[in-house]
Structures are given as structure tokens and as C-alpha cells.
């Protein structure tokens, strides 16, 4: 849809958009600006000192420790995107095309699991992943050596929790893309002589791209801010960016440092999203509407 040139002169449009625009400015842009301003201040004896210097930024750029954690966060987020999409796609595909009898029941179960409080679910995983937990108990009873899994308080444990808590997002977006594919397009591919596998790669997969991309973006953004899983399932052994930021604000009471790390995390996320958007647009712009 093309926005009219004179949209500023349309009083109805301005009136309807104004509340949302004001709310965005008040609750998103201003705090963001305040965060940015905060990074140029310093602290002394746990007190904020109103100065204007680059002391905090010098610290951020000179300590590799912060960047190790940032890189770990981005890597974890990317791995989480890959894993969730790999799990979500077959599930969404089955829901959209294959399952007929229990489709509604399964959808309801997924929604229930999705809506259950994340804290509850994450602590639930402790019961499973613990050395004496359900997973090891089951494995032992089917003949594996006792205590073979040692996942709790490792990055792998964190990843299991993140994947579990986020997998529903790409499942929904991919499902919505898949159900929108006209069945006749699949038949047309068969009619032209394509096998089922060929049809999947020529028609189904390319047309589910919007759902794949939006699901991946959602998971990526949410993983960057993952806080609960590294804390509960990772046991704080390999903290991610959100834990680092929390520590800066709460434990060290160094607000300017926390703000600077926040800005770094937002910048990394935004840059990566911009790169992905450029890639996705290049691939899909041509399939859209008339120019």
C-alpha cells in the first residue's frame, strides 16, 4: 500500500495516529535517549555523577570480557534460531498439511504450553535435566549408564530452555505461511511433472519464506535478551548479555556501564536485523505486488 503524500494534512489520520505516536515517543524513544545519555556519565561511591565524558565507553571497548559475553549471546541466539526453525518447520508443516484428525487438539496443547508462564516451565526443566532427574532416570531404565546426561548448569541446558520457550513463535509464523499456500499451486507442480520432494523445494519452501523469516527474527530478538534460561538452567556459569547488564545495574550499581552495555546489545541486534532484512528483501521483493 502506498501512503499518500499529503498525510500530514489529513486531520483524521493525524488524530488517529497521534495517541500511538505519542505513546511510542514517551515510552520507547525517550527511555532509549535517556539510556544513551546515561552512558556519558560516571559513578562515584555508588552514586551517579553528572559529567560528560567517554570514561564508560573507554572501559567498554578496552575490556574483552564484555565482548566475549556479547559474542556468546549472539552465537547462542543464532544457534537458537537454527534449532527452533529446524524443530518448528516440520511441526508446522505437519499441522498445516498432514494432520487432520487431532489438528485442533494439538494446536490447543501448543497454545497451552506457549501461554504457561516461562518461569514455571524453565524451573520444570530442572526436574528433567538434573543429575537425578527424569531424563537420566529414563535413560538408565532403557539401559544407558546412570547419570549419562550432565546438562544442568551448562550452556547446553540454557539452550534447551531457550529453544523450548521460543519454539512456538516460528511454529505459528511458519504455520500461517504454509496454510496460506493455495493447494492448487502444489497440484500445478505435480501436473507439470514434479515429484513430491521437488514440489516441496520448488513451491512450498519458497512460499513459506515470510513465515520462516519473521519466526527467525522473533526468536533472534528474544534470544538476545534471554535472561531466565541462563540464570536457571545455565546456573550463571556462562552468563549472557542480559545477566551482564543486570549485574552492572544491580550488583555493581554502575548505571552508566549498564546503559552502555544495553546500547551495545541493541546496536548489535539492530545491525544483524538490518543485514537480515536486506537479505530477505532482496529474495522476496520480486515476488510481491506490481512495482
Amino acid at each position: 500500500m502506498r501512503i499518500e503524500h499529503k498525510s500530514w494534512n489529513d486531520p483524521v489520520l493525524v488524530a488517529t495516529v497521534a495517541p500511538l505516536a505519542l505513546a511510542m515517543v514517551a515510552f520507547f524513544l525517550i527511555p532509549l535517549l535517556m539510556t544513551a545519555v546515561l552512558t556519558f556519565q560516571t559513578t562515584q561511591y555508588y552514586r551517579l555523577v553528572w559529567t560528560w565524558d567517554l570514561k564508560i565507553w573507554t572501559e567498554v571497548f578496552s575490556k574483552p570480557h564484555y565482548w566475549t559475553i556479547m559474542m556468546r549471546t549472539v552465537t547462542m541466539a543464532l544457534v537458537c534460531v537454527v534449532l527452533t526453525v529446524l524443530i518448528a518447520f516440520p511441526a508446522a508443516y505437519a499441522l498445516a498439511t498432514r494432520l487432520k484428525t487431532f489438528k485442533t487438539q494439538i494446536q490447543i496443547l501448543i497454545i497451552f504450553a506457549f501461554l504457561t508462564d516461562a518461569v514455571l516451565k524453565t524451573f520444570g526443566w530442572i526436574l528433567i535435566l538434573d543429575k537425578n532427574g527424569v531424563a537420566n532416570w529414563l535413560l538408565m531404565h532403557v539401559g544407558f549408564p546412570p547419570e549419562m546426561l550432565n546438562l544442568l548448569f551448562t550452556p547446553a541446558g540454557t539452550m534447551i530452555g531457550m529453544v523450548y520457550n521460543l519454539v512456538a513463535y516460528p511454529m505459528f509464523t511458519i504455520y500461517l505461511s504454509l496454510v496460506r499456500i493455495d493447494r492448487d499451486l502444489i497440484l500445478a507442480a505435480y501436473d507439470a511433472g514434479a515429484s513430491r520432494i521437488r514440489t516441496f523445494f520448488e513451491v512450498t519452501l519458497p512460499l513459506s519464506r515470510p513465515g520462516l523469516y519473521s519466526g527467525a527474527v522473533l526468536v533472534f530478538v528474544l534470544s538476545l535478551g534471554a535472561f531466565l534460561e541462563p540464570k536457571v538452567l545455565g546456573g550463571g556459569t556462562s552468563p549472557l548479555a542480559s545477566e551482564l547488564i543486570r549485574q552492572s545495574f544491580e550488583t555493581r550499581v554502575n548505571w552508566p556501564l549498564g546503559a552502555a552495555l544495553t546500547v551495545v546489545l541493541i546496536a548489535i541486534g539492530a545491525l544483524m536485523l538490518a543485514a537480515c532484512a536486506a537479505f530477505a528483501l532482496r529474495r522476496t521483493s520480486s515476488t510481491g505486488r506490481p512495482a
Binding site: D182, D184, L185, L187, A188, A189, Y190, D191, A192, G193, A194, S195, R198, E202, V203, P206, L207, T284, S286, T287, G288, R289, P290, A291
Partner: protein, 364 residues
């Protein structure tokens, strides 16, 4: 008919407990243009899908080019389909859409390109459309791309599932003309599904009229229009009149009498009698264009009816009158050549007449 390219016999299709096709048999000759016509839900699209291989028949035998099609997937059949909503791949360019089947057959690139261009030429599409996407084309252009995509693999049979139902009347007419020309030039068998009998009559060599899973009549357009098997077929095209009569067999055909007509018994020649005539609801089919207003004496053998003008419609070249006759449920429809002076006005008592020997005797 030349050797049949499609030989379907006793095709039955059940969807759960509902039976969509009740043992349909149909033969389609090589190079023939056959239209499957009927109201929605008559099973015409189901039959087309069975021909294409998208549906397996519950029972019956289908041969295409002499090969039993049981278990043969759509991908391996010598048929290509043009879908109702075209089903062009939105993420592929026009060239990729048309060339998709060639790519699957691993046709060499240069040869594939020249065949795609030849198709574009045949469909009167500009070469610079090749790099466009379907969404960038108009409805009529998309239609041509869909036809090109189906014809590029040189199928034995082209199946068309109401591909013109979404187009406006003018574009439809021009594409219908092109389709007919295309069929003549290519010599491919065409099977067209449509609910529009007029379209079927314009295009097809033979028409198969279907109703609730049965074939009602198969015949040339002339057969369907002038010698319909029953009232359903006769009523399917345009508006027409049925005059209930009692028919008895005689030495020269059928003798018919109507309680509404004073003239008495008239003999109908055998070629004006439906071959599937039954005793159930016998009627004379009187086409609107064969009825006239009678002002003076009746012509010899003419049947007369007295009534009142209910409504008239001036259609330009013709004027349609609806005459209410006492004893008939539906108004009698008559089409007169248009004239500058109206022959009758609403409410006027009129006498109308027609020659029963030119009418056609059928039943329900």
C-alpha cells in the same frame, strides 16, 4: 470420432458417504474439444480432477492414450491442467512459470528458451514479460501465461477448469475466440469444464451435460440445443418454454394434445422427439424465437394460446415478452425482432401462436 485419447468407463467417485460420480462413461477423441457442462456440484470438476490424476476414482476404468491410468500419478500423465484460479507460481517469473515442466524434464537450456519464446509468441505476449512476475500482469495476460505453461510440454490432452470464469465479459469473449483458434492450430485434445453452456456451445465439438454425478447427454452443440435429452438440458441454456402435453405413439411419430389448446391433436415427427422420452412429465419444448403474436387468422396447424402481457424487456435487437397464460405455472417467454413500435403493452390481452410441428417433444 477418431480413436479415443481418453476412454473413461463406469467412473465412480465417493467422498465418504457422498457419491460425487455415479458411473460416468465418456470417450474423448484425439484432437477433439469436449466441454463438461453442468450446474455446480454436478461432478464435472471431480471428473476433470480424475482425468488429471489429482483424484483416484473409487471404481471404474480410465485409459489415456490406451494406457490404464490406475495408480499413475498426475506427474506422469500426458495431461496438463489450466486451473480455475490459474495457480501461477507467484515466486517465479513468467519464463520460470512457463519453463517449469521443461526444467523438470531436464530439457537443454537453449532449447527450453526457444520453446518458452515460441509459447509466448503463440499467446501474443510480449518478450519483455519473461522476467516479470505473475502479479505484475493483468488478468488476461495471466490467463495466457497459464495456457502457455500448460501447453509448453506438448500434452496429449489439455484440461481447462473454468479458466475464464473470473474474467469480464469482453475479455472472456476474446479469449474464447483465441482458445478455439488455438485448439484448431495445435490439434491437442481439449477438455473444458464450464457451467456456462453458451461458452461450451461456442467452443466445443461435443458437449457432455452432467447433473448430480450422472451424464445426462453427450452430443454436438446442435444436438444439445435443438434435440435436448430432457427438460434439464433444454432449460440449461437461456430461457425457454415447456408446454405440458399428452403424447401417444402413432404410425408416423408421436401424437400430442394439450388441454390448453383447442386445435387438437398434432403429429410430431420422430426426429423431433427426444430419444430418452419417458411418460414422466411430457412436454413440448417451444423456443422463444418461434412464437409470434397472432392478430388475424391462425396459420394451418398453428397452436394458439390466449393470455395477458405480464412484462416486456427491450433488448435492442430483440424484444422479450412474458405472457401469462391461464393454466400454466410459468409465464411464456417470446423473443420478437426489435421494432420501433411495440406490438403490445403490459396488461394487454394477446393471442400467441407457434407451429407445434417445429417444436421438440421431451420429458422431465
Amino acid at each position: 470420432m477418431t480413436s479415443p485419447i481418453i476412454d473413461a468407463s463406469g467412473i465412480v467417485k465417493d467422498y465418504g458417504a457422498a457419491r460425487a460420480l455415479h458411473g460416468v462413461s465418456l470417450q474423448i477423441g484425439t484432437g477433439e474439444f469436449v466441454a463438461l457442462v453442468g450446474p455446480s456440484g454436478c461432478g464435472k470438476t471431480t471428473l476433470l480432477k480424475i482425468l488429471a490424476g489429482f483424484e483416484e476414482p473409487t471404481d471404474g476404468r480410465l485409459e489415456i492414450q490406451g494406457v490404464d491410468m490406475r495408480g499413475v500419478p498426475a506427474a506422469s500423465r500426458p495431461t496438463r491442467m489450466v486451473f480455475q484460479k490459474l495457480a501461477l507460481f507467484p515466486h517465479k517469473t513468467v519464463a520460470e512459470n512457463i519453463g517449469f515442466s521443461l526444467k523438470l524434464q531436464k530439457v537443454e537450456k537453449g532449447q527450453a528458451d526457444s520453446r518458452i519464446r515460441a509459447m509466448l509468441d503463440l499467446m501474443h505476449l510480449k518478450p519483455d514479460y519473461l522476467e516479470r512476475y505473475p502479479a505484475q500482469l493483468s488478468g488476461g495476460e495471466q490467463q495466457r501465461v497459464a495456457l502457455a505453461r500448460a501447453l509448453v510440454s506438448q500434452p496429449g490432452v489439455l484440461l481447462l477448469d473454468e479458466p475464464m470464469s473470473a474474467l469480464d465479459a469482453k475479455l472472456k469473449k476474446s479469449l474464447q475466440a483465441e482458445l478455439k483458434k488455438l485448439h484448431r492450430e495445435l490439434g491437442t485434445s481439449f477438455v473444458l469444464v464450464t457451467h456456462d453452456l453458451e461458452e461450451a456451445m461456442m467452443l466445443a465439438d461435443r458437449i457432455c451435460v452432467m447433473r448430480s454425478g450422472h451424464v445426462v447427454q453427450v452430443g454436438t452443440p446442435t444436438d444439445i440445443y435443438y434435440r435436448p435429452a430432457n427438460m434439464f438440458v433444454a432449460g440449461f441454456i437461456g430461457e425457454t418454454n415447456f408446454l405440458p402435453v399428452t403424447a401417444t405413439a402413432s404410425s408416423v411419430g408421436m401424437d400430442v394434445v394439450s388441454p390448453l389448446v383447442a386445435a387438437g391433436k398434432t403429429s410430431i415427427a420422430p426426429e423431433h422427439v427426444s430419444p430418452s422420452l419417458s411418460a414422466n412429465g411430457t412436454a413440448l419444448l417451444v423456443r422463444p424465437e418461434t412464437i409470434r403474436f397472432v392478430k388475424g387468422d391462425a396459420a394451418p396447424g398453428e397452436w394458439l394460446l390466449d393470455g395477458q402481457v405480464e412484462e416486456y424487456f427491450i433488448k435492442g435487437a430483440s424484444t422479450q415478452y412474458r405472457i401469462r397464460i391461464r393454466g400454466l405455472d410459468a409465464a411464456v417467454i417470446m423473443d420478437l425482432p426489435g421494432s420501433i413500435v411495440l406490438p403490445a403493452v403490459v396488461g394487454e390481452a394477446v393471442r400467441i401462436g407457434f407451429d407445434p410441428a417445429q417444436a421438440f417433444l421431451l420429458s422431465e
